[in-house]
């Protein structure tokens, strides 16, 4: 289980994440939702150890992650929000480099990479430079790099970004499959429809604070709202969207 207790992150005194506590259990997919700038990606980066917390604790399988960060990193896979990759490498080279950095056995990792490239429809372009990859192809490379070492904890920050319909359906099933195989999956996305289908629980963040943490079913019945989108709009969207759209159109007409 992944557990966050009273986690804070301040940037130059401004709180980006403010007293966040929740847990994500093995065998289920936990959705982590929030509008832009609500602190989702910052939380994800703190969970990966890429940035340090201002205060609080993060536990994985009952142990603080900072106690043995190296062992924790071996057990974790992460798909970042932006598809930042080394553009001068090919897809195969990048994945092989990640396997080497993760110290995976050469033969096993080579077979795994080949298999992943085939299943993710990247095999024909595996020796092409990543600079020429589409956004979806880059996303697939990130997904392959995140799961190739069979991690116990899978952190997915906007994993559907740029994926075509077919690949998105595969990824949706993959997320559920990983959870079914006992992995802890924390999944952040703006695609509420997908979250509603994939996640058993959601944590909704607004201005760095948690405003909801429950199963989708329970949230629906508690708030008497039919969809996750309606729940999200009520909890985390402040402005009148229609009025804002009108204002934008008026502005460019002026």
């Amino acid at each position: 289980m992944l557990e966050l207790r009273g986690v804070y992150k301040h940037f130059s005194g401004i709180p980006a994440v403010d007293d966040v506590s929740f847990s994500a259990r093995a065998g289920e997919v936990t959705g982590y939702l929030g509008p832009n700038g609500s602190g989702k990606s910052t939380t994800m980066k703190m969970i990966t150890g890429l940035i340090e917390m201002t205060a609080g604790h993060i536990f994985f399988q009952g142990k603080p992650i900072q106690d043995d960060l190296i062992t924790y990193k071996r057990r974790m896979g992460y798909v970042p929000e932006e598809p930042y990759l080394y553009n001068h490498l090919s897809g195969a080279e990048y994945l092989m480099m990640v396997a080497q950095l993760r110290d995976l056995p050469e033969k096993q990792s080579s077979e795994c990479i080949d298999g992943l490239l085939r299943l993710l429809s990247l095999y024909d372009d595996r020796h092409a430079s990543i600079s020429g990859y589409s956004k979806g192809m880059r996303q697939k490379v990130l997904i392959a790099a995140a799961i190739m070492h069979n991690p116990e904890l899978v952190l997915l920050d906007e994993p559907f970004s740029g994926l075509d319909v077919g690949s998105a359906l595969v990824l949706r099933s993959l997320i559920q499959e990983l959870a079914a195989r006992g992995k802890v999956v924390l999944f952040s996305s703006h695609e509420l429809d997908t979250v509603e289908r994939v996640c058993s629980r959601v944590v909704i963040l607004h201005k760095g604070k948690i405003v909801a943490d429950d199963s989708i079913e329970r949230l629906r019945s508690l708030m008497e709202l039919p969809t996750l989108e309606a729940i999200f709009s009520q909890l985390a969207v402040e402005q009148d969207t229609a009025s804002m759209a009108r204002q934008i159109a008026d502005l460019i007409h002026a």
């Binding site: 890429l50 553009n87 080279e93 990640v98 995976l104 595996r126 430079s129 020429g132 589409s134 790099a145």
Partner: protein, 575 residues
Amino acid sequence: MRKLVELLPLQVRILYRQFLLRVVDLEALSIQADIPRFLGQFASVLIFISLIGAAGLLAGETATATPEGYLSFVWRGEQALISGMMLVVGLVAVISWDSTFPDRRDVMVLSPLPVAAHTILLAKIAASSALLGLAVLTLNFATGLAWPLLIGSHHSSIWGFFQSFAAYWFTMIAASVFVYGSVLTVQGFTALLLPRRMFLRLSAILQILAFALVLGLYFLRPSITTPTGMAMPENQWALAWSPSFWFFGLFNQLNGSIPLEFGWLARRGWIALGIVVLGATASLLLCYLRTMKKTVEEPDLVPGARGWHWTPRFGSALQTAIVLFSLRSLTRSRQHRVIFAFYLAGVLGFALSCVRSALSTTAHRPLNADFLIATFMMMTLAVAGLRSVFSLPISLTANWIWRLTQLRPSEKYVAATRKSLLLLAVIPVWFISALLSLSFRPLHAIAAHLAVLAVVGWIFVELSLIGLYKVPFTCSYLPGKVHVQVMLWVFLFLLLILAMSTAEVELPSLNNPTRYICLMVVLGVGALGLFAFNRHRAQSAVLYFEELPPDVITTLGLVAVRPSMPTIENHIFRQ
């Protein structure tokens, strides 16, 4: 220059500034994208070279006593000035590779905007011309006046100075246009004839070939300074195919000082200039009319190459990952290639000077100090160059993967960096030196020198590793840290002195076993000591991916802290 730019249309002026910024990657040179500062530094180096050159020429002229000696001095001077100009412009062309042609970013950003292709072309040409013009003006800043004055005084006509002045500047501009235009022509027609994907692959190879060609033509050019030498059959091939001799002929034709039998050299110069100007103009126009569309239509994605993809192993998985990452970054990133080429120019220069001296005789020669100095300089320049490019990140945003997969202690990363420096700098230079040493004898002295060179290379690697607790090509750096100018003078003066001193110690010891053993023991102990020091420091080091400025205390400076000054405290205590 600024007034000339102001004459251009507004769109051209805006694009000109953007393109000038990218003619040479200023970020790579760590000058904080400050164009005037970069151009100022570039100009000051060339002016300095020009001043030294002018002083040398004036001093050389006073030493000539006979008319034959004077003619030889004049021809040598003219050939040196023209080939020097061509070398500088050639290096500028290599450094600003691809910058005159539209790249994918230009096309994608500017195509949706109401900007015509000819506006982009004009702005690109203006940016390239600005850099080229600056190179021509500053490199001839002093020599461009001193040389016409010097040879104009020997002219039969009273207008001699003006004729020599005009001939000098026309020749220098023509030689520069020839070199830069040749590069543009080759690039342009390659882009037109080949599919874009293949062109992108070939462009990097062409850049390296152009770099080697420019240096090769400069360092291997024979010096033919007498009419007899010009008429010798064995020199005809060099005269016919070395462009610097064509422009030497052109200058003398314009100056009215060419012997009739060498008029063909000037004709070659004119023909070459004409072909290159036409070729460059045609290739640029066609590229802007045709290739811009092709750039959008043909994505940069190169399909998976069929066949064998060999991934060699270099020790542990981490070492293999870091060595391969370094090798790929170095060979595939234009920015890093260009910076490394700056150092490689020195390596290649020393290597070619060795080749030239080897070609001058067919017999085996005894090992000499010049060769020891050359190999020492090659080794230090290669290690320093690689260490310098290691500090420049290739993609800071992609570094998260290194942080996320940092599963081993820092010392393992330092060891992998050491291996990268040894494999990519020390071993190649050592092999080149071994090849170059084949013209020397005795063999035991060569073997002894190569052993010394290997240890020297190792010492330089260990010196480079002091405080280097980062993965090559991944760490951000603070602006202004890599000063190319400072590095240039350090290498030219300090290292040359060090190389000369080392050669002075090494040369006699090569034939004296006792001295040689002492030398090797000293070097070996030094290398081992540095290795142990780096290893010990690396055990407690923390890998870093961002360079942070040192902590400083900033004082407002409102009150000078001097005992004699009436400070507030003193005033209160006196009360």
